[in-house]
Subunit: 316 residues, 2 copies
Amino acid sequence: MPLTTDTPRAIVREVGLRDGLQSIATIVSTAHKIEWLDAAHAAGQREIEVGSFVPARLLPQLADTAEVLAHALTLPGLVASVLVPNLRGAERAMECGAHWMIVPLSASHAHSLANLRKTPDEVVAEVARIRAARDAAGSRTQIEGGVGTAFGCTIQGAVAEDEVLRLLQALLDAGADRVSLADTVGYADPAGVQRLFEKARALVGERLAAAHFHDTRGMGLANCYAAWQTGITRFDACLAGIGGCPHAPGASGNVTTEDLAFMLERMGLATGLDVPALLALRRRVEGWLAGETLHGTLWQAGLPQTAVPAADLAAA
Amino acid sequence: MPLTTDTPRAIVREVGLRDGLQSIATIVSTAHKIEWLDAAHAAGQREIEVGSFVPARLLPQLADTAEVLAHALTLPGLVASVLVPNLRGAERAMECGAHWMIVPLSASHAHSLANLRKTPDEVVAEVARIRAARDAAGSRTQIEGGVGTAFGCTIQGAVAEDEVLRLLQALLDAGADRVSLADTVGYADPAGVQRLFEKARALVGERLAAAHFHDTRGMGLANCYAAWQTGITRFDACLAGIGGCPHAPGASGNVTTEDLAFMLERMGLATGLDVPALLALRRRVEGWLAGETLHGTLWQAGLPQTAVPAADLAAA
């Protein structure tokens, strides 16, 4: 749509290189990851989570995160983030000059113990250590605390909203620069999203900076819309919807980048994204992922040939 | 979720037997349609569009509408509707005792001429004739005017909101008992949906009684959520997402019944639907539709094993 300074903006943060690739068996080469970064940047993506600083034996798919990050940092205007599970990972992120490091915390106590081998409050304490290390090093790498299983979990079931809110505040108190909320297992519905995000925004304001939804049961875009209504403008997504749900073979993982970009543009928001270029990149990435199940709808339906942005119709 | 008299309700109106089956090549037998009706009723569905009174040479898939309707009328508490394109179809609907007849109108002038061979205002005039015939006959069959291509069309592109609103009012003035809005070609985005439904509700109030979305570009559930926020509680959907988009081979048609039912239940609304029973019915219908592309996500991900209704978490 025609971009003016008044056009509200939205950011699709690409997490396919991290959340997507870590969830599939195929190991994409460093050269292809760099090709992906270049094409995503050319298509207008300006925030990309490029990998994860975890031991290579745990996630061989992301063992080249330092190299991929180094390339990302050469792309003009690109904000590069990495996932770090602990202080050790954070030290690498800072050494490598990542713009943001995202520390995952699971609001579900059971999920936290199973996946991170720490309680949620132990993760909060780790964030405090990461913040102290950053301050001591004079690093400019910023810290995002990502609260996952915020809408329930496959192990313990319910996760209380009050506990999620408490952990958001605790992360900020421990020194995180901002926080985000994630529906790690695809349990969220839009009414629940709107309710929890409203409460979280009331509590921490603009420091609640991103929403991370999975499309496991088809509600990914609905949940993005619900979060957007509470003022959220940064959404995580994976190109081609790569990455499945580990608990449901064949089911989708994250929201699909190109579908989300199309929706936001149709809503009249400026994303800076070239949707046809994203579709072309999807086809390229698809070629590297033979045998993997991809997701999304726009690639199949295609862009409307005759449509005008819906926002222009209000005045038509 | 636990049902109380205070629990807000939502209705999933099944349109698979009409919109779904008319869009695919396979002709489902009358016996199977009756089996479908019985199982849908057993799964809690209480509003079903059972077919269309159009000439059998145009839609052989729906040639048995009178028989299917006759069976639907034997099911306790079931509200049976049929689509009627003109007075002739309306006369059959009334003769057969349908509870509702839905008269489609296309807000896109070009789409209306191409598909209905009438202008939108000629359809309004036909609704006036249908109303007069009903009054003369003393029939109790009610009239719903369904305004399609309300969010744009594949032929003319933009459809002005003011024109959609004018036609809603014109249908009611001509004698329709209520009206609905449809995104016939899958162009709608949730912000546009919310804006247009708000305007329409402001204009005609509760007489705007249903929303009909296609999931062509993955926004079907998001659009339902957006419409729900304006007070809409009746949504059209197709079991197994049957019915494609004629303009995009392989792309999905209507919102998928079982996915929508799951979302609404997760939102804390009472739908009266037994989602596992809908999934079982999906598998049965799938067996009748070999070679057809089906849609939806819940069948693949499955129901959450540990989830509690999100609405219960607010108090948790």
